[in-house]
């Protein structure tokens, strides 16, 4: 195969955006020198955040940022799915609904009335939902934002044609590998690390602050009794030993990944105690 044929056969990459802050797309650009390697391994065909040269589909790999919050987007994601072989969600919004999923517990109509002078122009769904509630997702990257090394790893796996696999372990495992002192035990801070998925490099505890769960529940959504993450036990510890009142426990679990079980169910249990 000649060099030019190899170039032509590079997998075509698209990056699309829904309701999000663009931070995960910026994580791609933050790959810096590795971007050159990605540019060689893949044909970056559609990435409006990076280039105005937007080539039409179909694509081999599409990275999807953002959640579904409008009827228009609920329709658009179907087209994105049809245009791609592999669909990878990037970040808490696309994977879990994001911080904007807090609206799922609130009255969106009243928000509109309060914020906008002409709320009749706002066409928004009453919920924010992850991409997986709308179309089949081939792989999910967690984090707010995603970790650029995890992204690079997944792209590498896809290019070679193997199923990507990322660890589902708790943040604690990485904290201890790095020699961080546990902020929960040594400072009494309500850290979510024991129930949160690793992947960030344990950045927050490494800086002496608490993990707030931006990579979502460790080991994914709990699929049966007695399986991790044990949010019940951690929430009880927050309440009984660290003296968090129930509404504070609710806020701990109802954050960036608040709409994902078991964070969602845990916050709802403690909401009943407020």
């Amino acid at each position: 195969m000649s060099e030019s044929e190899a170039q032509r056969q590079r997998p075509r990459l698209a990056v699309v955006k829904f309701a999000s802050c663009d931070g995960c797309q910026l994580s791609i650009l933050n790959l810096e020198e590795d971007l050159l390697a990605i540019g060689q391994a893949l044909d970056i065909a559609y990435f409006p955040e990076a280039s105005s040269d937007m080539k039409p589909g179909p694509y081999d790999i599409t990275l999807v940022e953002g959640s579904i919050t409008t009827a228009e987007d609920a329709h658009r994601i179907l087209a994105v799915r049809q245009e791609t072989k592999a669909l990878i969600t990037i970040g808490a919004c696309a994977t879990a609904g994001g911080i904007q999923a807090l609206r799922n517990w609130a009255d969106v109509e009243s928000f509109k009335q309060t914020v906008y002078p002409s709320p009749e122009y706002i066409q928004s769904l009453s919920t924010s939902t992850p991409i997986s509630e709308h179309v089949h997702v081939d792989f999910e990257l967690w984090g707010c934002p995603i970790d650029k090394h995890q992204l690079l790893r997944v792209i590498t796996d896809l290019v070679i044609g193997v199923q990507p696999r990322l660890p589902g372990d708790s943040v604690c495992l990485e904290c201890k590998r790095r020699g961080n002192v546990c902020v929960l035990v040594a400072k009494g801070i309500p850290c979510l690390g024991p129930v949160t998925r690793t992947g960030c490099g344990a950045i927050c505890p490494g800086m002496g602050r608490d993990c707030y769960g931006c990579f979502g529940p460790c080991e994914g959504e709990r699929k049966g009794p007695g399986l991790p993450p044990n949010t019940d036990s951690l929430a009880t510890r927050f309440h009984q030993e660290l003296q968090l009142i129930p509404v504070e426990v609710v806020r701990r679990f109802r954050g960036i990944n608040g709409s994902v079980s078991p964070f969602r169910t845990e916050s709802e249990i403690w909401e009943k105690k407020t």
């Binding site: 590795d34 390697a37 990605i38 060689q40 391994a41 690079l152 790893r153 792209i155 590498t156 290019v159 070679i160 660890p167 589902g168 372990d169 708790s170 604690c172 495992l173 201890k176 590998r177 790095r178 020699g179 961080n180 002192v181 546990c182 902020v183 929960l184 035990v185 040594a186 400072k187 009494g188 850290c191 690390g193 024991p194 129930v195 002496g208 080991e219 994914g220 709990r222 699929k223 049966g224 009794p225 007695g226 399986l227 991790p228 993450p229 044990n230 019940d232 036990s233 951690l234 009880t236 510890r237 030993e241």
Partner: protein
Amino acid sequence: MGTASETHAVLPTTDFQRLLEALSMKGYRVVGPTVREGSVVWETIRQVSDLPIGWRDQQEPGRYRLEHTGSNDIFGVVHGPQSLKPFAFAPREPLLQIERSKNGFTTSSTFPQSEKVAVIGARACDLAGLAVQDRIFLEDAYRDPYYAARREGLFLVAVNCTRSLTTCFCASMETGPRVSRGFDLALTEVDDSFLVEAGSEAGRDLLSGLSLPPASEDLIGEAGSRIEACARNQVRRLDLARLPQALYEAHEHARWDEVAGRCLACTNCTMVCPTCFCHTIEETPDLSHQQSTHVRLWDSCFSQQHGYIHGKNIRPTIKDRYRMWLTHKLASWIDQFGTSGCVGCGRCITWCPVGIDLTEELPALLTSGVQSSIANQQVGDP
């Protein structure tokens, strides 16, 4: 060996810097406990003031606090989350570098350079833990060359404990509080001086270079009685008399369900344990697929992947994982290695975010109790 006063020397606290300098002169990077983020961690030190002078630790299940006492004690802090484990069994160890070649691939090993590291402040439990790891990594047919390279360069300056934490139970495990083997130098801090004894040829060599005066019988006696008092003051203990068999017989005990309700499966107990040795292997290819590094990482029997064997997770639930850990640590370890896997340091008690205490769990499990009602319940794979 002569009389005690011939083998024991005295180092005034004000001269402690001389010990650090003597180690540096011998080419060692000197590492000691330093205060960080509310505990102590191992760091390279250059002067005595880098050590946690005047601090002491209070530990209880799920809780660690440092307090400043204003004393001149250098080793008032018993220990932090790290044992000696990371020095020889590195948390992240590249094993192989793999390069694609025309007809396949070539590999080259990535042995760590043997570095001379002097660790000051290791406790009896830490030395006992290291001895257990030595047994695992260095003995038998499978000698781990990566561990061996790191282990070879260690010079260990141990400190006898004269204060017990509420979480300590080394006395009942017969691993402390006095260091008995595996050290190069052992110190006992007695008011404004240190009783120093050598435990190896390298230690004797360093000690003779310091030209310290011999210790008085009074100082030796006082140090001994403080260590004995430390042992007497321990409030926790483990009774291994009926192990391993009794724990095997408790396999379906209802207590496993109870503790699984509290356990987070977060891996902290295994990470801070001086003897836990489980690891995983990660392949890290580059995007062009021309090279890859084969890396060994600390893993835990509480992690999801650890129980994953040919398409099935054989330990899906937290109960499965806690039972696996405790049964191995306290029972099957004895069958496997001829010693207990627990040295009584108490770290798993302190650093458990929800304060699970194995010295409470073991007696509860060995009390004839209700059999688990959900022992045979099927749980779906995660």
